[in-house]
């Protein structure tokens, strides 16, 4: 089994945390995992890319080859298309519809979303709205993890357990908000 995920977003959106939740859950289930991250200059509001590789056998390359990714999971619609060449023709693209407009030449959002919808297996998620409904606009990441969870080779319960332990120190309310956000994402992509 090989499952390569391209994680995309903008510096500051918590792309690395999304990777950590999926990677930790996959490891708990006994998979080999490699996660290549971007640190340094790119994290200052620029395009951020992380490569997460999950496999049943040892993984050689830290980078995902072109055309090999089973999933692009993006926190931002423009960024979801930036790495399209990494997606396998059978792969899925799961992205938030909420743009981060920190550049002057941001393309027309409707045209962008229309383009994403033409890709087979595309799932568009209103992550901000769902996160707010769950109780915190900051939980958009958790919504996106939930939306991705259908296709990941990891059981939903394992991820739920991990989210619980992750936020336990911040109290029951924070745990509840994040689990709600995760479930909202799950529901939106069902």
């Amino acid at each position: 089994m090989k499952y390569d995920i391209v994680l995309a977003g903008v510096g500051g959106q918590g792309v690395l945390s999304v990777g950590a939740i999926i990677a930790s859950s996959a490891m708990k289930e006994g998979f080999a995992v490699k996660q290549s991250e971007v640190h340094g200059m790119s994290q200052r509001g620029g395009a951020v890319l992380a490569n997460l590789r999950i496999a049943g056998a040892p993984i050689a390359s830290d980078l995902i080859p072109l055309g090999a990714a089973s999933m692009i999971l993006s926190m931002e619609p423009l960024e979801s298309l930036r790495y399209l060449k990494y997606l396998s023709p059978e792969g899925a693209i799961i992205t938030s519809v909420d743009p981060v407009r920190n550049i002057p030449d941001y393309p027309d959002l409707e045209a962008l979303l229309a383009k994403i919808r033409t890709i087979p297996g595309a799932v568009l998620v209103e992550s901000e709205r769902l996160a707010r409904q769950a109780g915190s606009a900051r939980a958009t990441n958790m919504v996106m993890v939930g939306a991705a969870s259908h296709r990941l080779p990891v059981r939903v319960e394992t991820m739920e357990h991990f989210i619980e332990s992750l936020f336990q120190s911040k109290g029951a309310k924070v745990v509840d908000t994040n689990l709600k956000a995760f479930h909202a994402g799950w529901g939106a992509a069902a």
Partner: protein, 540 residues
């Protein structure tokens, strides 16, 4: 035995701890920062070993050398260009007879993700005539760092461990071993070896040259340099170094056979193994991250016995980093089917100053202060404020190396350019800006230095500066800048007009002036508010 999930950088740190490390030193620099960052967190939990930031890579190196001199194990970590700063102690520490193990970890940045060049530190190891180990994965990062301490003590040299960005910043499971205790303090018994007076230095240099054959004997026989010959298929042989092996392995299934293969993870280059491979094959492809170091050695000036393919013959791009796909093309495999983005061009999203960044307010004030001057020269430096080069600011005209903003502004002023302004961050100023400021004081250079003080080393993730930034004013006055022309201002948009007026007045002053623009980085303010939760903590 325990399993840990570690970045390549963190695996180096754990390897050093388990090798009986006594002290580690570094100046932050992507992609090496997480080595000593991890060790500082480790020290906070376990009290030992000592891990600390230093003023710059040179002082870090020399502090590590002092630990070695008294027989204990030390590590110094830096990014590739940091070794330029530490080149003096590096080159000379190769000549002394190293006592306690000294391991120099250098993280190269091929592709320049966060650097101003992509120099290859294997040349530096060669230059110093020492052993270099190049891990290919996180497990090797751990094991090779451990071993490097033993090699350092066995051969009496510093040992260089070379990382690259993709290994430094990739996480995987590492199996760790038992910890070795720290070494007791001891003197080397070769006191003259550490006094590099010419008469001693000549002896030491001859001794280092005489030991070269021992280093080679080690790299010819060590398991890091593995040769596998395929008697069935002789058309192509492959040499990989470091993480290039992973990209080669990624494509082996599609290649359908295993070419004869030499992997190099320890230098000096195992020449006999290279010759064995070349005797066996009719052509050789060389895959290495960084410069064509092994390739150029094989190519030489006289044509090699078999054709050599690589970066200099065009099979592999001469710049940037390797990828599985570059290696795939070099192996003449067809590209995989991939999705294409037809009919829509995506704008780039370059890094930029954060919303509310104090540097932005300084650039706004400077713009006003400079209005009307025909040809102002604004030199700058390495840090977040380098992003002031990009729109909408376009405020700076140079970014070369740590501290150069100060000395280049002086040079421009010496040449007659007016006004000459240097912009440097607080941490970069302490790293390499104080000494050129002394040059400027000595000649009362007609220039203005702006120190943008955000109270942290921001670009690398918010490490503390070596001195609290409240001391900057004393430092500046202490080296002799006229106190009448030293100002400390708040870098805030409500004060932009007043700040611009002070800047204008000092820029018009015929002589040296220093303006310190103070406001804490918005990222460190935020991090303090939420109590830092780094992604690696999630995985622990």
């Amino acid at each position: 035995m325990a399993e840990m999930v570690l970045l390549g950088d963190e695996a180096v740190a754990m390897g050093a701890v388990h090798a009986g490390l006594t002290a580690a030193y570094a100046y932050p620099g992507t992609p090496s920062t997480e080595i000593v960052e991890y060790l500082i967190r480790y020290q906070a939990r376990h009290a030992r070993p000592l891990a600390t930031w230093a003023t710059n890579e040179k002082t870090a190196y020399e502090e590590a050398l002092g630990v070695s001199m008294v027989g204990r194990r030390s590590l110094v970590a830096m990014k590739h260009v940091g070794l330029n700063v530490a080149a003096d102690p590096f080159m000379n520490s190769a000549i002394v007879s190293i006592h306690g193990g000294l391991v120099v970890v250098v993280a190269d940045d091929p592709g320049m993700h966060s650097s101003q060049n992509e120099q290859d530190s294997r040349y530096f190891a060669d230059f110093g005539r020492i052993i270099c180990l190049e891990p290919a994965n996180q497990q090797e990062s751990y094991a090779m760092t451990r071993e490097a301490f033993d090699l350092s003590e066995r051969f009496h040299i510093p040992v260089l461990v070379r990382l690259v960005t993709r290994l430094a910043h990739s996480r995987a499971v590492v199996e760790t071993g038992d910890a070795r205790p720290e070494s007791p303090i001891s003197k080397s018994g070769l006191p003259h070896a550490w006094i590099l007076l010419p008469s001693n230095a000549r002896k030491q240099w001859r001794s280092l040259l005489a030991r070269q054959k021992d280093f080679l004997a080690y790299t010819e026989s060590c398991p890091h340099n593995a040769l596998a010959l395929n008697p069935e298929r002789r058309q192509l042989g492959v040499i990989t170094t470091g993480i290039a092996r992973n990209y080669f392995a990624e494509n082996l299934d599609d290649l359908g056979y295993r070419p004869s293969h030499l992997h190099i993870g320890a230098y000096p280059v195992p020449a006999a193994k290279v010759r064995s491979l070349l005797d066996h094959v009719r052509s050789v492809l060389i895959l290495e991250e960084g410069y064509p170091y092994v390739e150029r050695m094989l190519r030489g000036i006289v044509p090699p016995a078999v054709p050599v393919f690589g970066k200099e013959s065009g099979e592999v791009p001469p710049d940037g980093e390797l990828t599985p796909d570059i290696v795939r093309a070099a192996l003449k495999l067809p590209a995989r089917a991939a999705m294409a983005l037809g009919g829509l061009s995506l704008p780039d999203r370059p890094p930029q100053l954060c919303a509310g960044c104090p540097h932005a307010d300084t650039f706004d004030a400077l713009k006003i202060a400079l209005s009307g001057f025909l040809m102002p020269v604004v030199t700058s430096d390495i840090g977040c404020y380098t992003l002031g080069a990009l729109p909408p600011y376009g405020s700076i005209e140079s970014c070369v190396c740590m501290g150069a903003s100060v000395s280049m502004a002086k040079g421009a002023s010496d040449a007659g350019a007016r006004p000459a302004i240097g912009i440097i961050g607080d941490s970069t100023f302490l790293h390499s800006g104080v000494t050129p400021l002394i040059d400027a004081v000595a000649s009362n250079a007609d220039m203005t230095l702006i120190i943008v003080d955000n109270k942290t080393t921001a670009m690398t993730g918010g490490q503390p500066t070596i001195l609290p930034s409240s001391r900057l004013e004393e430092v500046v006055k202490g080296v002799g800048v006229d106190p009448a022309h030293v100002h400390v201002l708040q870098a805030h948009h409500r004060q932009t007009q007043e700040n611009a007026a002070v800047l204008r007045q000092e820029i018009e002053h015929r002589g040296l002036s220093v303006v310190i623009m103070v406001r804490e980085c918005v990222e460190t303010v935020k991090a303090k508010g939420r109590g830092r939760k780094a992604p690696e903590a999630l995985l622990a």
